[in-house]
Symmetry: C2
Subunit: 681 residues, 2 copies
């Protein structure tokens, strides 16, 4: 069967060459450190970290299938055991996807061979009917699709599909893609509204967005239809005992997989799984944050390709609730540890925040799909915020240590003693038993070239300012856009056009909300932005010819950000940002008791260069006011009094202070950190 692919809106990674000093360093880190390190982890070859067993699981599953085929009885089958999480396959899939992206920019025959061999291993673990899942193959061969709420089969399928699409796009090799099409063809025979099918859908969304990508690359309408089925079936019968998770749960006679919040909690807490309501009835972002953004990434993609107004409205409504009521300034989402989930409007505690790295990665994917649907700075500003703050914070500057949880305030000495902080780590970890975040960081950074531009009709939107060369096609004419900048540190961005023949089209430059006075010159001529600004983008339409160039200046003032007054956790507090970066205070620069420091209205900031672990980063130097120790001695028996009964105005002493970019915190040992600082006006 031959398909005609639907051109995806993402720019082909092979046509993007990132030359950016900031991001090249990260892409090198992914290529040179993170990918090999994670390969070691997936093979259980890194000492003293949580075992992954991902590769081993595939080997055991493959051996088992081989034995079945030979009707043989290999001792491996009996002795070997699947290890750890039911979704362990997805870690390998995300790693393969990251490898695929990385190979675009950095061809590497040895790495490609490793990937090919890994793909062969995966295919060996594929059943004749197309099914792949090492957990069920090894541990519960008779129980496929019996526990969608908890057991992640469709989630793992989704990640394998994404990896296969990426690998096909990079290498042109169809073997992995074809195997995944067989898998999906089989899934399509299992799920649907027909009475001979299961009316189920995954407990962890992911396959929806993956199916849309598979649809684009294959053009097979059935994949879009299957995605639509999964999206539209979600939450059906939410108000009756015919809800699918209740039905399948009854069939299992009380057997469940997870019990850390009580027996079968994952089946029962349907908001957690985004299964409490049909999507069209959802008013606010609730439940597991990663599940939420993965789901709506798929929904937004489907909504665009099907021009489905109701789904578009749903996506916009939930985007607005999430970003205007439930998102941290760092572009982080999911305020609580329990259920890794959203809480409610205007409830964003800084110290007990969960704010998983993966959730911000999913937020970027969702933002990207929304931008493709209806270009608007509200999406790409959030994309930039999440990328430069939470996602980057998720990985240490050495590429080998990771945060899963990204709080905005940390007081390490209190963490071990107060269980509200049980999920918070004051330093990045080498690996996790649930290792979703490290390979997710690897794949987003290695695929960053897809996020720089959005091309829609004859408009090229610049979303992210990343020095790069990108080849685009307009009216069959190849146009090369060369972006030059030293973002996020410097305010000058230049964009140069190279082409053989002049073509008329629009270049729409994102004017970030954080920049009060952007200015643009085209071929040296300053232009007025008044009439050409639309949804936060300056639209410059002309017949662009070779050597045309744009100079964009995004003045990077140091901003004092405050929160909406409904947000009680930040009342009276200020966060400092410059350009896309949120800054924070660390104990390494400012001593302990960071909460005693406040920011006067008169404070000025100087840009200084980071040293040591922060070399290459721009830091902000200022003077803060430090609350003095108790001095109301006449009112108290000693200076140790916990309460000073008749307090005078607190005396405060100026103290030199340094703010560092939030993404770089925690790279200099254990210490306090704080984003929101008391406003001492």
């Amino acid at each position: 069967m031959k398909f005609t692919s639907i051109a995806p809106m993402e720019i082909d990674l092979k046509k993007v060459d990132i030359t950016d000093p900031f991001w090249s360093e990260y892409q090198h880190l992914i290529k040179d450190i993170a990918i090999p390190y994670q390969w070691g982890a997936l093979n259980d070859a890194i000492p003293d970290i949580e075992a992954s067993h991902s590769i081993e699981n595939f080997k055991i599953a493959a051996a088992k299938l081989e034995n079945i085929a030979r009707q043989d009885n290999n001792p491996l089958e009996k002795e070997a055991e699947f290890y750890d999480m039911v979704f362990q396959d997805s870690d390998l899939a995300k790693w393969l996807e990251a490898v695929a992206y990385s190979l675009c920019k950095y061809p590497d025959a040895a790495l490609e061979q490793t990937a090919d061999e890994t793909i062969e291993l995966i295919i060996k673990a594929q059943h004749k009917d197309g099914y792949i899942n090492t957990y069920f193959t090894v541990k519960e061969p008779d129980n496929r699709w019996t526990n969608l709420a908890e057991c992640h089969e469709l989630y793992c399928a989704g990640h394998l599909i994404e990896a296969a699409v990426a690998y096909f796009n990079t290498t042109g090799k169809r073997r992995f893609l074809d195997a995944m099409c067989r898998f999906v063809d089989y899934i399509d025979t299992v799920f649907g509204l027909e009475t001979n099918k299961l009316q189920g859908y995954p407990g962890h969304p992911e396959i929806e967005l993956a199916l849309m990508r598979l649809y684009e690359v294959t053009g097979n309408e059935r994949y879009q239809s299957l995605a639509r089925y999964f999206v539209e079936q979600r939450g059906a019968n939410y108000d009756s005992d015919q809800h699918y998770y209740a039905v399948e749960s009854r069939k299992r006679l009380g057997v469940y997989h997870y019990d850390h919040y009580g027996p079968a909690w994952m089946s029962k807490d349907r908001a957690y799984s985004q299964a409490h309501l049909p999507i069209s009835d959802q008013k606010v972002a609730v439940g597991h944050a990663v599940r939420f953004v993965y789901l709506y990434t798929g929904v937004a993609h489907l909504a665009r390709l099907s021009a489905d107004k109701d789904k578009i409205e749903t996506c916009k409504r939930l985007w607005n609730n999430m970003t205007c009521r439930q998102m941290y300034i760092t572009g982080a989402i999911g305020a609580q540890g329990r259920g890794e989930s959203f809480t409610s409007d205007y409830d964003l505690p800084n110290d007990t925040a969960y704010t998983e790295t993966c959730a911000s990665i999913g937020l970027i994917m969702f933002a990207n799909r929304m931008m493709q649907l209806e270009p608007d700075r509200i999406y790409t500003d959030v994309m930039e915020r999440a990328l430069y703050n939470t996602v980057l914070a998720g990985m240490a500057l050495d590429g080998k240590h990771f945060f899963y949880v990204n709080p905005l305030e940390v007081s390490p000495k209190h963490i071990p003693h107060n269980h509200i902080y049980d999920h918070v780590k004051p330093v990045r970890q080498r690996w996790f038993s649930c290792a979703c975040c490290p390979p997710n960081i690897a794949r987003i950074i290695s695929s960053l070239g897809q996020y720089i531009y959005t091309q829609k009709d004859k408009v090229i939107y610049t979303n992210l300012y990343i020095a790069s060369q990108t080849k685009l096609t307009l009216n069959n004419e190849e146009v090369t856009l060369t972006m030059a900048c030293n973002y996020p540190w410097e305010e000058q961005i230049s964009l140069k056009v190279a082409c053989q023949n002049a073509v008329e089209y629009t270049i729409a430059l994102r004017l970030p909300l954080w920049c009060k006075n952007p200015s643009i010159a085209v071929n040296g001529q300053k232009i007025s932005l008044d009439k050409i600004s639309l949804k936060g983008y300056a639209h410059i339409t002309r017949e662009w010819k070779n050597d045309d160039h744009i100079e964009l200046t995004l003045k990077m003032e140091v901003l004092r950000v405050k929160s909406h007054p409904k947000l009680r956790q930040n009342i009276g507090k200020i966060a400092i940002s410059r350009g896309p970066l949120v800054y924070c205070l660390e104990q390494a620069d400012n001593g302990e008791d960071l909460h005693q420091l406040s920011l006067a209205r008169t404070a000025t900031f100087a840009l200084i260069k980071g040293v040591g672990a922060l070399t290459g980063k721009t830091l902000l130097q200022t003077t803060l006011l430090k609350e003095d120790a108790n001095d109301d001695e006449d009112n108290n028996e000693d200076n140790d009094a916990l309460y000073i009964l008749d307090s005078k105005t607190a005396s405060k002493t100026p103290q030199p202070a340094v703010f560092v970019p939030y993404f770089a915190w925690g790279n200099r040992g254990i210490g306090e950190m704080r984003v929101w600082v008391d406003d001492s006006y």
Copy 2:
């Protein structure tokens, strides 16, 4: 065997007649509402509340023992079941203790008969060897003393002992006391360092303080020795697998009672049970807050009667750590829900506070023992703080609703959505499955007469200012002290002496730390406090004769209290107090979004009278500043922006505001509450 009792330092309740308007109302509430209501609850006679089953458990246990005695086979034994908590017996014991105290002041033949009958029921459930515990009698008759870490047998014994002591003191009836002596005599044969005994000690301290009270009333040295054994054995072998809880746990072959934080957590988390170290090695208050204060109440009692310097030092060290580093301004302790426990120095979150009512009751008992040990205002100031704020907050003004958890900041609309608040209730509850707090409030309020004075040698310390008549004996002369005041609302306190013959002794008046300029007049003559003040008490020594009188004026200014600068949760915040009362803001008076209100330095306060549910309470009227809604529209796309990127000085609008006493919060429906308010200087 006949014992000579050791005079307890507590004033005999029969010699105290509380006439105080404030406290008489509460004592009436206990007598008229709380005691009958709780009796109903203990008998499962109150509809729609958590079942108690306490009386039923005793009936089942008694019937079982009767059947065993008759070698009969009553169907009750097979059908009836012990219900709920393993420590359910203690709720009945605390109720009986409260009844005993209440009968002192309010003789009530019907109530006394009910108590007598209940005592007979308890004695029917006593085994021949003296053992009483309905859980083990009904459910695990062969497993006595096999699970000290978890199963509360000695804890329940302690509460029964306290009830028996109180009932004997009130009624002079020995039946309950004798039964408890038989129980303790039996316990004494079971526990001790001798090889034929168990080297164990209770997972929940309580019996230690009860044994000291039993020792005082009986004079039986063995009871003091047994208390000393339990105290000194605690934490033995803490660094080896010979720790008693490990030993008994191994013997049970993995059977455990509680698993809500994982299997056998209660045995394993030894700090929770105060069993992680010998007490002399404990440096800071840790673990379950109620266990901690109950233990050290007993230790302080033992330390005083045995003049044990090491134990005295331990008590002082831990008192200081607890009150100077880990106590809320409301006299509440135990900052976290997990394990109902302390966290660490200077970590007192206001919204996620656990701060159990019972912990503050235990704190008062500990303070009382410390005061008896070494009189000092540092103990009685805390006693007053805990009593007038957290303990009173524990019960609604109707006597029928209770707080178990006492946060200092509540935002009801966020509670259901953020699991860090799972333990917080925005309104008082009718009962609890773990119903320790309601009868504990009943017994502390009904025994309040014991806390007004401490008589030590020839010094009479006034601890609490409660209008009352108290008969004391000095040099064999009966002296009646009549205290008159309208505390905690008014500043005038008078103390009048009535006696036949003049006697020389010292009246030492507590000068609360919150009062900057106390003044005292004796028989109309103002006296200088400079030379007579010692440890926060003004010592007036003279030959006191009939009609001598003291006028004490404790000027009650409205104080702006701030916290030690190490306490990050309260930095930049002010709490308002007047006299012993901490005040708070409530939504009922001040609208929602209380966090937007801040207090200017120039604010003045007027005393106003409460109305409705707050009739009789003095409220504080002032003007606060309310942060205006976003007005930086030029910087933002709409007023809904979650982050205002370049904030100007927040504009604030004066708003009339009312502070109410913290103890009275939550009596006017569900709404926000907040103790710590932003300091807008």
